[in-house]
Point group: C2
């Protein structure tokens, strides 16, 4: 899995930071979390294909999280997309898309399936499942947690050979969790492999004030991507505007037992965000402040952070 930051700025873009969007690539597809204005250009610069996106998850309807969505849909149509696109978000997002479609004749070449965000499972396919949880913000807003099912089990060839299963496609089926029938006998995957590994999970806060229940929702995440609009000096402002400080993000990561915390959604006042990173590291050492085009690669439980997507092959 690869996580690419296409924007890391709060409210308005800066020279270096676009408004927020996170692109997560899995083996078979891509998933987008929020869609700030300028998203299409960021995808172009990153060399990412918008057609691969299977589903878009919008945290809330503040403009810096959603203004890139209509352009993305139009571009997909210009590229003659045929595959259904799922869009998850609040009822207001549904109105927004409907209005665009009705008033401005978006000639989409594909179906948009809208799913209204709610607490619980909002999206599921063979590869991933996404859960949503309402956050504390000035408008209805959701955090998301993506689970990638690691289908490949640890396989024991000697057991398979013992049971008379020849090396080949049947082994592969068993390793992927399917039962097979050989010589009239049913072989279950657990007879020749370990139980499936725990799914990998990545949590994304969207916009939120610090609150206890989010820690529960994020519990055991491999990676937490948390907003970090302000530094601890502006904790009052954060609390008033229902945003988080980098210190609060670190507390969430620490108490959730995450392996890595990536901070994003920085106020434009911070030209250099290494200060916010340092603040968080005092509480949760394995913290990184995301930059536009930064890439996190997760492979066989190894998590590596690359400054630029080009290094993330």
């Amino acid at each position: 899995m690869k996580i690419v930051f296409l924007g890391t700025s709060a409210a308005v873009p800066t020279r270096e930071r676009n408004t927020v969007s996170i692109y997560i690539m899995t083996t078979n597809g891509a998933y987008l979390f929020d869609a700030g204005e300028g998203l299409q250009k960021q995808l172009q610069i990153a060399g990412l294909n918008p057609i691969k996106i299977k589903a878009v998850f919008i945290s809330h309807m503040h403009f810096d999280h959603v203004l890139g969505l209509p352009g993305l849909l139009m571009t997909m149509a210009l590229m003659n997309r045929k595959e259904k696109l799922t869009v998850v978000g609040t009822r207001k997002l549904f109105q927004f898309l409907k209005m665009f479609n009705k008033e401005f004749y978006m000639d989409l070449t594909f179906e948009v399936e809208f799913i209204e965000a709610h607490q619980g499972s909002v999206y599921k396919n063979k590869e991933i499942e996404v859960l949503a949880f309402p956050t504390v913000h000035s408008t209805e807003s959701y955090a998301y947690r993506l689970f990638e099912h690691k289908l490949k089990r640890k396989f024991h060839p000697e057991k398979a050979l013992e049971l008379g299963i020849p090396r080949g496609p049947l082994w592969n089926k068993l390793q992927l969790g399917e039962s097979i029938i050989i010589n009239g006998k049913t072989i279950k995957p657990e007879m020749v492999s370990d139980p499936p590994p725990a799914p990998l999970s990545v949590s994304i806060s969207g916009d939120t004030a610090y609150f206890e229940q989010l820690i529960e929702f994020f519990k055991g995440s491999d990676i937490i991507i948390h907003e970090s609009t302000f530094s601890r000096e502006l904790a009052n402002k954060a609390s008033e505007m229902l945003h988080s400080t980098s210190e609060q993000a670190a507390i969430v990561a620490l108490r959730s037992g995450a392996k890595l915390l990536a901070l994003y959604h920085f106020s434009e006042r911070y030209k250099d965000v290494s200060y916010l990173e340092e603040e968080a590291r005092k509480i949760f050492p394995n913290t990184v402040a995301a930059k536009d085009f930064m890439c996190i690669k997760i492979e066989d439980n190894d998590i590596n952070v690359f400054n630029n997507i080009n290094e993330c092959e």
Copy 2:
């Protein structure tokens, strides 16, 4: 006057080119023509202040010309703009803004004055006047022509001294076209200066197929900024999609008697647009293919083109 290209791509952005927007700076303000998605980021990179924009002119409601407008308005509000902003465009633009305002509670801190585009004068202040003219495109679309009134006349000090007007603020008033009274005698500006110079004018095509009447509307422009979506090889496609080739743009410039032609709005298929520039130059030699952040500076009838706004001081 300075003209800065904030986007030069048709339909979708490329790595190098944003969707279209042109920022024109005069002595006392700035005027924006079209507002492609990602505009705010482009303004940031160019170091241009959105607050200075007095009026926005939208050619038509295709998404690549207008998706940057809501974000721009929100940013102006975040910057606590108080001055009225004039927005000129089609009735559909009005619906678009109304809908954003109503459904999404844009908390604007300033008044937006909407003027419906129509053939003729659509905007006028002390400094400039803008005329609109309907073009031939797949939706209601307008070309615009901006006239900057050059107020400063050529002044004749010897005539002023002869009439007993002392060097000082009175000379300045006369030079700017105001009459004065000295020793009970009225002195008119034409008694001590040449007639006011012709206003500088810049024409912008928006999206359009080639058609004769546009040449009339552009007649005598100093600078013509003309869409150049395709090359002459794709003249049929241009005609079918109601766009122009670079050759057609050059014919418009030639027959309008322009001093400079700047091509923009290039199809993403052209990685390098120098080919389109060459094509136009065969017909109208003083052609330049615009790049993002290119700047055209006009001073005392000298027109200079700079590759980057930083060189355009």
